[in-house]
């Protein structure tokens, strides 16, 4: 049996939309380019494909609709009847039938035109054939349009039907309009049914769920029923009738004792009698509602009589034990008021109990129970003889049981902790449980590190043996050592302190040379080097030379004299005619002229005029030097503040 999901049926498009959908799909999913110069087979294939594709699409879509809409014969008769009431069985069947026919016809069209296309001789002819085929299919669809519209409406309504399970435990509420059925269901379930003072507020079935004895119960609220023959009933009333007819449920017939619904008790009793046949084999309860407005005792005699009759009927038709014993079941009549909420729960519980009993009785009577009963069986061995065979308990176990007299409770760590200050204060001494060779070692402070080594790395039970071996090795090594001697004194003697001085001086000199060279190397590009002959800073003096030479061990006097004599002194000193010191004329002295000159010559004067250009400074002549100096001075001058400064 196919399972229908009435809430998930695909949307049924209108006729026009249907055609649009199918044709656009064909256009998108099949190739579109064709030219009359192609091979004729190719042209034929092209158009045949289009026709076939359209037919397949129609087939598919119509097929889904036909499959998804439920077959009224396949579903539960309750739903079948419901749908008949709501949608008219004939109309429904006709609509679906029409769709089926349409499907078949589309197939036929496709076959015919494909046969024709096989012999199409030109592009034009094939195209026309395709056009004709598709046109006919679409016209077919247009004819089917009204059915599609109807089915769409059916689908929309079906999706909103309440999901009633016809097989589970159900309580059905029926009665005249406005008696308080919807208020009751609102009270016992979470259903939110409209409650209004006018009649026929409830226009369709409503489902609520409630619990009793850990089971789920369906409660179905029906629209009110009026008392007239079946043929005259309208759709809404038919809903209640259908529900009553098909669902095996506990029925609560509501009677309004106060008459505020607008109908007298007599009328309600009449209704009861007319729909009595529907209550066969169903546990029935007559519920008097609105008891707060009018109590049962204060009713007039006739009304009370009618209600008692109803009760008698109710107990009769619920069947079971009561009817067999012909005893009036007190449970059949209950009173309640939804306004004051008295008796509401009582009604529910009674109804549920009655239904449960009814169902259990039914199951007991059915054959299925025997199948279940047969499976449960406790096998007992048949006694062979009269000998007693009690169960065997081993002796050890018996002894243990005897010995397991309640001992004094052990002193636990927990007790110790509690004694010594509780959880936060007491810290358990884990060392108590240590297993050591000597008990006194338990509280030892074990060293871990010594002298940059881990003690644990050295621990060895035969450490002493190892130590002995080590000692032996050491002895051997020492003996070996004492034989060798350091014999490197002979070859080269030690340097004397003076020689060491000389060595230090040599190293110093070498270092200085290196340094100077490095300095010269780095500054060569950045600074102009004054050649020594110009000697602007006057570093290279004769006295310096003298010092150097004497450091080297040479007598500098001769060299110094030569140097001094070579340099030309002042003009006046060079003149032969005057000897300052002696005050004696030069002629008197017997020395040769050149020698005198040499003795009197002095180096040039240390001071210089500022304009004088010293070769090595880089100036062409003194004029240029003056210019340079002037520029330098100008650069250092402070300019006036204001706009000129920023330029």
């Amino acid at each position: 049996m196919v399972h229908y999901n009435l809430k998930r049926i695909t949307v049924v498009p209108t006729g026009k939309d249907f055609v649009d959908i199918v044709l656009s799909r064909t256009q998108r999913q099949t190739p579109t380019v064709i030219h009359k110069s192609y091979a004729i087979n190719r042209i034929r294939q092209f158009y045949m494909r289009k026709v076939k594709y359209t037919q397949a699409t129609f087939d598919e879509k119509l097929g889904t609709i036909i499959d998804e809409f439920p077959q009224l014969d396949d579903i539960h008769p309750f739903y079948g009847d419901l749908m008949n009431v709501l949608y008219d069985r004939d109309h429904y069947k006709l609509a679906l039938g029409q769709l089926r026919t349409a499907k078949r016809l589309v197939e036929k069209i496709c076959k015919d035109y494909v046969k024709l296309l096989k012999y199409g001789d030109s592009l034009y002819r094939c195209k026309q054939l395709k056009k004709a085929a598709l046109g006919r299919m679409c016209t077919l669809m247009k004819r089917v349009g009204p059915s599609l519209a109807y089915l769409e409406q059916v689908r929309q309504h079906m999706a909103r039907l309440p999901s009633i399970d016809p097989n589970t435990r159900t309580i059905l509420i029926c009665g005249y309009p406005n008696v308080g059925k919807s208020s009751f269901i609102n009270k016992i379930t979470r259903a939110d049914v409209d409650v209004q003072p006018y009649a026929f507020t409830t226009k369709s079935l409503f489902v609520g769920h409630t619990d009793y004895k850990y089971l789920r119960w369906q409660v179905i609220d029906t629209p009110g029923i009026l008392d007239h023959p079946l043929e005259d009933r309208n759709t809404i009333e038919m809903l209640s009738i259908t529900a009553l007819a098909h669902i095996r449920a506990a029925v609560l017939f509501f009677v309004d004792v106060s008459g505020s619904c607008g109908y007298s008790i007599a009328q309600q009793a009449a209704l009861f009698n007319s729909i009595r046949p529907l209550f066969d084999n169903k546990p029935l309860l007559v519920v008097c509602s609105k008891i707060d407005l009018q109590s049962l005792e204060s009713l007039p005699e006739e009304d009370r009589q009618l209600i008692m009759e109803m009760k008698k009927e109710a107990s009769k038709c619920s069947g079971g034990i009561a009817s067999e014993m012909m005893v009036e079941d007190d449970d059949c009549l209950l009173t309640m008021s939804t306004l004051t909420e008295e008796g509401v729960i009582n009604v529910k519980n009674t109804a549920c109990e009655k239904l449960l009993q009814h169902r259990v009785e039914g199951k007991m009577k059915s054959k299925k129970l025997e199948d279940v009963r047969n499976r449960i069986h406790v096998a007992m061995p048949r006694p062979r003889d009269t000998r007693e065979r009690p169960p065997v308990i081993p002796a050890g176990v018996l002894e243990a049981r005897a010995a397991a007299a309640p001992r004094a409770p052990r002193r636990l760590e927990k007790d110790l902790e509690n004694e010594n200050g509780g959880a936060g204060v007491y810290s358990a001494n884990l060392r108590r449980r240590y297993i050591l060779a000597d008990e006194s070692w338990k509280e030892d402070v074990v060293p871990e590190i010594a002298d940059g080594h881990n003690i644990a790395d050295f621990i060895d039970t035969d450490i002493l043996k190892r130590l002995d071996e080590l000692d032996r090795e050491e002895h051997q090594r020492e003996e070996g050592e004492s034989e060798e001697e350091d014999m490197d004194d002979d070859e080269f003697r030690k340097l004397s302190p003076e020689e060491q001085e000389a060595l230090a001086a040599i190293r110093l000199a070498r270092r200085n040379i290196r340094e100077e060279h490095r300095l010269k190397k780095t500054t060569a590009d950045s600074r102009p080097m004054v050649p020594r002959k110009h000697d602007k800073d006057k570093r290279f003096t004769v006295s310096r030379m003298e010092r150097h030479l004497s450091n080297l061990g040479i007598d500098p006097s001769a060299a110094a004299a030569r140097a001094r004599s070579k340099s030309r002194g002042r003009k006046r000193d060079r003149s032969l005619g005057y000897d300052e010191e002696a005050g004696v004329e030069a002629m008197d002295v017997e020395q040769p002229k050149s020698k005198k000159l040499r003795m009197k010559s002095r180096t040039r004067s240390q001071s210089r005029a500022s304009m004088e250009v010293v070769p090595g400074e880089g100036f062409k002549d003194s004029a240029q030097k003056q210019q340079a100096l002037a520029l330098g001075k100008k650069a250092m001058k402070k300019r006036s503040t204001g706009k000129t400064d920023r330029r």
Binding site: A437, H453, I463, L467, F492, E499, L552
Partner: protein
Amino acid sequence: MRLEKCWFCSSTIYPGHGMMYVRNDAKIFRFCRSKCHKNFKMKRNPRKVKWTKIYRKLHGKELPQDTTFELERKRNRPERYDRNVVEDTVKAMKKISETRVEREAQTLANRMRGKKTQQRREDLAELQQGIHLVKAPTALLEEPSLTLPKEKMKVKVSVEQESKAMES
């Protein structure tokens, strides 16, 4: 509490020092300081880095293997505490340490043997080659010893003294 060894330079890592790196294959690398850590990150091989212990041992600068080293070995199975054993161990550790130090000193001495001779030879050669930088050849001819020359410059003070000496 355990003293660990630095993976790179093999020095001891005291508590509160260094860094530990755990690789994805669960191998643990401990470093004594960021110098070692950075060298490791640069993927340098400690066997090629001069100042590490591994290099020194590998290239014979230090005692490579010895019974004293074998006595110090990480034991994975803990031994049951025995006071006497621990006492003996602590004393033995001292002795072992002493012998190790002696042996290391011995290796050093072996390595440095012949250094003095070489040094002296080199000094002499340097002196002979470089004496010209501090002593003029003429002075060397007069006085062939490899020492600094006596200063020959006439200093004014000394001249006066000389004359005074001569006078007196």
